[in-house]
């Protein structure tokens, strides 16, 4: 990894999505062939507006697409295996154990009738074959690792007794319980108060770095993406239109849509003291032809890593 004259050997991606297509029935296609790689331990961001297809991409990797949506083409290679070719049982075994997901709404994502501790412990019972008393102890440990104060007490509470940020931490504890190789986080902080968001994001970053868990972070929030991700893919109307290292993307966006997205952010100091300003609309920056299923994908290669990757 260091000093080799021809450059470092790229490690095998933990997730390799090729030409993924998702649709409803025959005629209605929502995802028009999306391809990207995530390296082990890497945090990869998928950014785009609502309806761009970023969420269903994440769901399809997990195998949680709801009828009538289904994968109509392409491959999803996870740790060397195309999970789309696996049977339901094999796929289910991966879920929670090797790949995990955290969702947007912590309010409704937990079973209201079971204690938080039990819901975490369930992971250990199912995937590690522990008995319940063992699993409960591990659950308390898990709560500790996500920095929930008074973990033994908290484990006995019900979801409605916790705040939104706390619930999301519980979700993270559940997702990372079995130390998966890939964590998919679908808008993990969108439903939380601004003051709580940073803490949750930091937690994800820290825990995943410690275990070498790769993260697919899906968000519409450019700030979140900028802070967390090493590499970013921009999605628009079912296509991946641009993919660059984060810094490069923000400094030098290639695709008109990305430029539009960046321009649409309100910027401190962009208004003259006497003038009135309007936010730049996306349509002002990118034309209709440059969007949609025929939009090109503009990517730049990954930058050299300065530290050894997992």
């Amino acid at each position: 990894m260091s000093g080799a004259p021809s450059g470092p050997v790229p490690p095998t991606p933990v997730l390799s999505v090729r030409d993924l297509r998702i649709g409803v029935g025959r005629s209605n296609e929502l995802l028009h062939g999306v391809s990207f790689d995530i390296l082990p331990g890497e945090t990869y961001g998928l950014v785009g507006e609502s309806g761009s297809g970023k969420s269903i991409t994440g769901l399809s990797v997990m195998g949680l697409l709801k009828r009538p949506l289904q994968v109509t083409g392409g491959s999803v290679v996870f740790r060397g295996q195309d999970v789309l070719t696996l049977g339901r049982r094999a796929r289910r075994k991966l879920r929670g154990d090797r790949m995990a997901m955290v969702f947007q709404e912590p309010m409704t994502a937990l079973n209201p009738l079971a204690t938080v501790g039990r819901q975490i412990a369930e992971m250990f019972v199912i995937h590690r074959g522990m008995d319940w008393s063992q699993a409960r102890r591990k659950a308390v440990e898990a709560l500790e690792s996500v920095r929930v104060p008074a973990p033994e007490e908290r484990a006995r509470s019900y979801p409605h007794q916790l705040s939104g940020g706390m619930r999301q931490r519980v979700m993270i504890a559940i997702a990372l319980a079995c130390r998966p190789d890939l964590l998919i986080a679908d808008e993990p902080t969108t439903a939380l108060d601004v003051t709580v968001q940073a803490g949750v994001l930091e937690l994800i970053a820290e825990l995943c770095k410690a275990e070498g868990t790769a993260v697919l972070l899906v968000s519409h929030d450019l700030g979140v993406i900028a802070n967390m991700c090493r590499r970013v893919g921009v999605m628009d109307r079912g296509r991946l239109v641009e993919e660059q290292d984060t810094r490069a993307l923000f400094e030098n966006p290639l695709h008109p849509y990305t430029r539009g997205l960046l321009a649409a952010r309100p910027r401190l100091g962009s208004r003259t003291p006497t003038g009135r300003g309007r936010l730049t609309e996306l349509d002002q920056v990118v034309t209709g032809e440059e969007r949609g299923r025929d939009a090109p994908t503009l990517t730049t290669p990954r930058g050299l890593r300065l530290e050894a990757s997992a």
């Binding site: 879920r95 969702f103 209201p112 199912i126 559940i174």
Partner: protein, 311 residues
């Protein structure tokens, strides 16, 4: 929890009082009561003196508010008055009818729950399938079925044609007398339970936390068992309770049809004989049953759902 129960019991009282008031007022408007109908029938010609004496005996000569007050006072002492017809306390007339009615209601509900809830569950787990459509069609038919007609048909097939079950009568401790009336009475609640369960399961299966459970890697059977069932129960409990509560009233016709010696048939009989005190007493009992069941449902809710504060 005990305080919760006590509070709910206290809350029943105003409703009960209001019911008593309404029934009392309605029946004070009755143009004739048992006593005067005796006169008009002409069989027993009573002269005015006897009539006046009877009126006085039953307190009918007093003005309405006084009668109401007397009645309420009696209620507070658990005294429901005297039956016009039998001259015995109303409670003695009602009391032997209570248990048969309760038995019938519970049997009908048992049938409805045992058949309806699983059907609804299974229908929801395969939405849009033939089984689902078929079950729902059957459910809507069950709700549209006049239960006394269904009871009549059951009687015809099972009792008269096949001779398997008795078509009327009551025998404490024997099952075969209760089967036909329980099934006839239970069809409608069963249909409603099937529909409500199905809707509940669909709601729950679409809920976010079920998606989380799938993301955790739970198998479908385990998911349904540990996460779905309890949540559905919470939704279904209301319907279950409401049905049991109103079964007493719905049982009226079935009881008459099968000659089942319960509160319902007592009500009908006392209405036709204009035995007002018994009518009032029966209505009070029926309403009380409804209110008590409602309270039990609330208690069950508080026990199952941790979100409900029990204060």
């Amino acid at each position: 929890m005990l305080r919760f129960i006590l509070r709910r019991m206290l809350q029943m009282i105003p409703t009960l009082l209001a019911v008593v008031l309404i029934i009392f007022v309605i029946f004070s408007v009755v143009p004739g009561s048992f006593i005067t109908s005796l006169m008009s029938e002409g069989r027993n010609v009573m002269n005015a003196d006897v009539l006046a004496h009877l009126n006085e005996q039953f307190g009918l000569d007093k003005p309405l508010p006084v009668r109401l007050w007397d009645y309420l006072w009696g209620l507070a002492h658990f005294d429901l008055g005297i039956s016009y017809r039998t001259r015995s306390p109303v409670w003695d007339v009602i009391e032997p009818r209570l248990w048969p009615s309760v038995k019938l209601a519970l049997a009908a509900m048992g049938f409805a729950a045992v058949v309806g809830i699983p059907l609804g569950f299974l229908a929801a787990l395969k939405p849009g399938s033939v089984f689902d459509t078929g079950t729902m069609m059957m459910a809507v038919s069950g709700l549209s079925l006049p239960e006394f007609w269904f009871g009549l048909l059951l009687m015809y097939v099972f009792a008269l044609h096949l001779g398997l079950l008795p078509s009327f009568g009551y025998q404490a401790g024997s099952i075969k007398y209760i089967i036909l009336p329980a099934v006839a009475l239970g069809v409608s609640p069963m249909a409603l339970l099937a529909r409500t369960t199905r809707a509940g399961v669909l709601d729950v299966m679409n809920a976010d936390f079920v998606r989380t459970a799938r993301a955790k890697g739970l198998s479908e059977p385990r998911l349904v068992r540990t996460h779905v069932t309890r949540n559905v129960l919470v939704l279904v409990l209301t319907t279950l309770g409401l049905q049991v509560g109103s079964l007493m009233g719905q049982a009226i016709v079935i009881e008459k049809l099968f000659s089942w010696p319960g509160i319902g048939s007592l009500l009908v009989d006392s209405v036709s004989t204009r035995d007002i005190p018994v009518v009032q007493g029966t209505v009070i009992v029926i309403v009380l049953w409804f209110l008590v069941i409602n309270m039990l449902v609330d208690v069950a809710y508080a026990a199952i759902d941790p979100r409900i504060k029990v204060t």
